[in-house]
């Protein structure tokens, strides 16, 4: 088991390295033109451009540029050329907000997915089941930003049931913090609930037909225990791993749209705003953070899967 973990960790490092190189290439090499000029934002002076060129190494070879760029970004030195604020500080401020949003949504969609999936599977083939399928498919067909904007407008602004966007730090007022998060978390959750309920339903139906479930019944276990200890338990394994991956994806940037619409001020919104301003250092930094988070989480998920399903350990 430990060999498995070590291998995955090594893989992780390699992938992260590749991601940083790729990001670097995307921002500084692919586009035409002078990266220093671009990085300087709108209407820079010549000396500004020159300063950037030197600091980020654009006048030197690519590998050196890469090193300089990474040093600036990872070292927490990068300054946004638009807001003049330190990029790392901004990201650090945004992380708990993005996390709160992602975690809240993840819990909601998991609970909702389990509830709907169980319901659909227990009434497979019935009208209820079909209705749930339609609801599920509708959920995943919605554009995040549109749904969020409409919910925010109608429930927040017009009906005043919820605050009109914004974020209140937990340390300031836990209840208000939760209150502000209800609508955005729900929006995000709606997008995923459908998928999870359908996967769970499919898993449950498949598992219920397995021989070992029949054995469980033959052992005289009460139906509750058969469902809990065998059907649900086995069906959930792939779902837990999917959940981990999705959670990572949401934190890493999947929440951008919802954050922007509800003005949460998280990491994703930071990136979105920066993109609009052609402000490269923040976007670079957020991309790296996002990729890092995804890679870490996918490794965790792989390890978790091996822990839950012993058959995986052999093949690694």
């Amino acid at each position: 088991m430990s060999g498995f973990v070590v291998r995955r960790l090594a893989q992780m490092v390699i992938v992260l390295f590749a991601v940083s190189v790729l990001t670097f290439l995307i921002f500084n090499v692919i586009p035409n033109g002078d990266p220093a000029v671009r990085m300087a934002g709108k209407s820079p002076t010549e000396s500004q451009v020159e300063a950037i060129r030197e600091e980020w190494g654009f006048d030197r070879s690519l590998p050196v540029q890469y090193v300089e760029t990474m040093r600036n970004v990872l070292g927490g030195e990068a300054i946004s050329y638009f807001t003049q604020l330190n990029v790392r500080d901004q990201i650090v401020e945004g992380i708990p907000r993005t996390f709160a949003l992602a975690a809240g949504a993840a819990i909601l969609w998991m609970l909702g997915g389990i509830a709907l999936g169980l319901l659909a599977a227990s009434r497979a083939g019935s009208k209820v089941d079909r209705a749930i399928t339609v609801v599920a498919l509708s959920g995943i067909s919605l554009p995040a930003f549109w749904l969020g904007a409409l919910l925010n407008y109608y429930l927040g602004f017009k009906l005043g049931l919820f605050p009109n966007g914004g974020y209140v730090p937990f340390t300031e007022d836990p209840l208000d913090w939760a209150y502000h998060l209800i609508l955005p978390c729900t929006t995000l959750a709606i997008l995923f609930v459908g998928f999870y309920s359908r996967v769970l339903r499919a898993n449950l139906l498949e598992t219920m037909g397995e021989d070992y479930v029949r054995t469980a019944r033959a052992k005289g276990l009460p139906q509750r225990q058969v469902m809990r200890g065998h059907v649900l338990r086995n069906s959930m394994i792939p779902i837990v791993t999917l959940w981990g991956l999705d959670f990572g994806a949401v934190v890493a940037g999947g929440a951008i749209l919802v954050e922007t619409v509800f003005d949460i001020g998280g990491v994703g919104q930071y990136a979105a705003d920066s993109v609009g301003q052609l402000d490269v250092p923040p976007v670079l930094a957020v991309t790296l953070f996002g990729a890092f988070f995804i890679v870490v989480l996918s490794t965790v998920v792989d390890i978790l899967y091996a822990a839950l399903d012993p058959r995986i350990r052999v093949t690694g």
Partner: protein, 297 residues
Amino acid sequence: MAFGGLFLVLVTLAIAAPLWENVAGRGPDQTNETGQIEVDGEKVNVVELDGTPIGPQWGSEYFLGADANGRDVMVRLLYAARSSLLIGIVAALLTTLLATFVGLVAGWYRGWIDAVARSTLDVVWAFPVVLLGVALGTSLAIGGLQLGPVTIEAGSRLIPILVIAIVFVPYMARPIRGRVLALREKEFVEAARAQGAGSWRIMASELLPNLTSTLIVFAPLMVANAILLEAALSYLGVGADPSWGSMIDDGLEKMITAPHLAIVPGLMLVLTVLALNVFGDGVRDAFDPRAEVRVGR
């Protein structure tokens, strides 16, 4: 299956966009902030002085009203349909081509080729979908792309197509690679090998036909997700215009006075994607009920 029909209807509408343009008398980008039109015999400002555009006229001109710049919403809607559908479908096709190629090669040759392919896929996949799309879209949008002899201008629709296509490759390549790994162990592959068929031959004549069911199952879902991603990108300003995403972006600004500007393109988007999803679900039930289609958001 009815939903498949719905999708085709939408495609037809999109294709018919230029026809409507003739009917409406103005193009999708034709602004008209200061113009006036006749309503019930009276002359009305297309865009009021306070910025409120006129509502749906249900006639040939401004069928669904005007947006903040005086543009005809209906015309824009249909052209946006064109953009979104075109980009979505072409991107999905491109993803399929790339993913099939990568999946085939990686799964067949294994060894270091597979390792490189998987690592590349991992890297692309490690990027959050929207961020990668935005990142690529931004850098390409600034100065276009120059790859040797190939030049693509900034603002060309090819850019979002490329971006979306690349972003989704890992989601498709992984299951394809998995299928190839399973298929290569089958007897008919061994038989072909024994007959002296070379690798490329086997891939083309033995593996590829067996992948078609997987591809068919994936196709509608890929298009659906491509369309959604395109909308997200254009909402953030990195996609095409007019597009449903950009229309929603514009429309949200006028939410209070003219909510339909944001709602209508959104509905079109949802209907299209839903049609594709339901259709894709039916296809999947028919071909391969066990297929697991995973696309990130």
